[in-house]
């Protein structure tokens, strides 16, 4: 089965968040998870949400995905209010969330079968294309448990990309992988992002990862989650996580994260 050598990507979308707030009720108490989050992500931009656990970064991503609703504020995807999950915004999780009863190809087809207006041959073609994109076309009939952690996340990436979303939401997708596999995936993700032109919102608590991947790193502080500061990263791509330059940036952000510099919500260039 030959996959097509190119498929046109959908144009990336822009995201606009204004005054987004979210409360949770736990044991009768209201907990403020997010407060007054305002953020613009432009078309094709790669933005990393960075913060310690409990800062609400995953909640924020879930709101953008439409899996949860904000209690206050507005969220627009290309000018349209977001209230539900949609195929224009696909999500990847820390666990691959692949379905063990399906093989690799069927997992990728799962998202395509839900997309209207495609026949079986077209779906197969698109699935094969994306398996090739993540380098797993030889494993199309493997079952999920036969894959390594890195391969699972590659399949999850192929599954998320296959319906041709305009925004890719990634919730610590590499956090459970070993360092070597992770480094390989940083390279792949940067290549795929360049080729497929997606707007990416990437949640992480790993400072270097954020600097390696993001055009911008948005630092969130906890209790309640709010934007502490933004950093623009203007290092050339593809970036190598082990480069000295990158480490220098990461150190600077780390200092901010630890609160040495005091936080204002101003944006600052670090390159």
């Amino acid at each position: 089965m030959n996959a097509p050598t190119s498929l046109p990507p959908a144009p990336p979308a822009k995201l606009s968040l204004r005054g987004v707030g979210k409360n949770f009720r736990a044991r009768g108490n209201d907990i403020r998870a997010l407060e007054n989050i305002s953020l613009d992500v432009s078309e094709g931009e790669f933005v990393c949400l960075l913060g310690p656990s409990g800062c609400g970064k995953s909640t924020l991503l879930n709101i953008v995905a439409g899996l949860e609703r904000a209690d206050e504020g507005t969220l627009l995807c290309d000018g349209e209010p977001v209230t539900d999950p949609g195929r224009d915004r696909m999500m990847m999780f820390q666990e691959s969330a692949l379905f063990p009863w399906l093989d690799v190809l069927e997992n990728v087809l799962f998202s395509l079968r839900l997309k209207p207006g495609m026949n079986a041959a077209e779906r197969r073609e698109v699935a094969e294309f994306h398996l090739q994109l993540v380098g797993l076309e030889k494993f199309r009939h493997a079952f999920v448990h036969e894959l390594s952690g890195g391969m699972k996340q590659r399949v999850a990436l192929a599954r998320a990309l296959a319906p041709n979303p305009r925004v890719l939401l990634m919730d610590e997708p590499f956090a459970a992988l070993d360092a070597l596999t992770r480094e390989q995936l940083y390279g792949d993700l940067q290549r795929i992002w360049r080729d497929r032109r997606k707007t990416i919102l990437f949640v992480t608590h790993n400072v270097r990862e954020a600097v390696c991947l993001g055009d911008r790193v948005v630092l969130l502080s906890p209790h309640p989650g709010r934007i502490q500061r933004e950093f623009r990263v203007e290092l050339p791509r593809p970036r190598d996580i082990n480069s000295v330059e990158l480490a220098r940036h990461a150190t600077e952000i780390m200092a901010e994260l630890k609160g040495r510099n005091g936080g204002t919500a101003s944006e600052r260039k670090v390159a």
């Binding site: 995905a65 439409g66 999950p85 999500m91 999780f93 969330a97 839900l114 448990h145």
Partner: protein, 254 residues
């Protein structure tokens, strides 16, 4: 092949021990017939057709009641897992009734349906249904929530999510429940057949019962061997293929 040989050797050894025990004359041969007389009974009853017709009567009752128990139990289990109101009502009832030995349904079934096929059917369904509901319910509750969330982001919702994500994800539990349901159906039917004479059909349980009445121990033991064989065959034919499939996909086989 090696495993088959081992199993065959084991059963052959059991037969030899049994024959030796009979020859030792510890108990009267009226109480412990020799394997040869049991084999003779099985041969005769096969030849005159009584065994086969009893087998068919029993299997028909079993399969019918079991199929209905499964067909009702799986959807009801999904519903009790989905709706809190059903969990607190039907779910609780199922939990109570699955612990009730199914032979307890026999007196009720007789009063309601008389000595009829209906009574047999009712007992088998009651024996199957509750444990299948509990297994399906339990299976759904063990599905990692991340599957449904991932499916939602891909545009799946409502019935699609239930049929294409939650049900297949719960399959290992559901198949376990079907297997348990089969064992319960089998037991309840045997209890009912031994207990009650049904004029419309003479099943294996009746054969067992009359074996006792006639003091024909070779018949009692012969029928028991038939029951055991069917139990094993059902496991191999009905459930093993499913279990192999699940092990292969989930990677749970040792």
């Amino acid at each position: 092949m090696k495993r088959t040989a081992r199993a065959l050797a084991f059963f052959a050894a059991l037969l030899v021990l049994w024959e030796l025990f009979v020859r030792a004359r510890v108990w009267s041969p009226v109480l412990v017939p020799s394997p040869l007389s049991v084999a003779a009974y099985l041969g005769e009853s096969l030849a005159d057709g009584t065994l086969l017709s009893a087998l068919l009567v029993t299997l028909r009752r079993l399969v019918l009641g079991y199929a209905v128990g499964i067909a009702l139990g799986i959807p009801l289990g999904l519903l009790t897992a989905r709706f809190r109101t059903l969990e607190d009502t039907l779910g609780l009832l199922a939990l109570g009734l699955q612990a009730l030995p199914s032979v307890c349904w026999v007196p009720l079934a007789l009063l309601w349906f008389g000595q009829s096929e209906g009574a047999m059917f009712f007992v088998v369904v009651m024996g199957t249904l509750w444990s299948v509901i509990i297994a399906a319910d339990n299976g759904v509750r063990n599905v990692p929530p991340i599957y449904a969330r991932a499916a939602r982001t891909m545009g799946s919702h409502g019935l699609h999510t239930w049929l294409r994500v939650i049900l297949p994800a719960a399959l290992p539990h559901v198949v376990g429940g079907m297997k348990q349901g089969w064992a319960f159906a089998w037991r309840s039917l045997m209890a009912a057949e031994i207990y009650v004479t049904i004029l419309s059909g003479f099943g294996l349980g009746h054969l067992l019962h009359y074996g006792r009445e006639l003091n024909a121990m070779e018949q009692v033991i012969g029928v028991m061997i038939v029951l055991l064989t069917i139990g094993l065959a059902a496991d191999r034919v009905l459930f093993s293929p499913w279990e192999r499939l699940l092990h292969r996909r989930w990677g749970t086989n040792r």
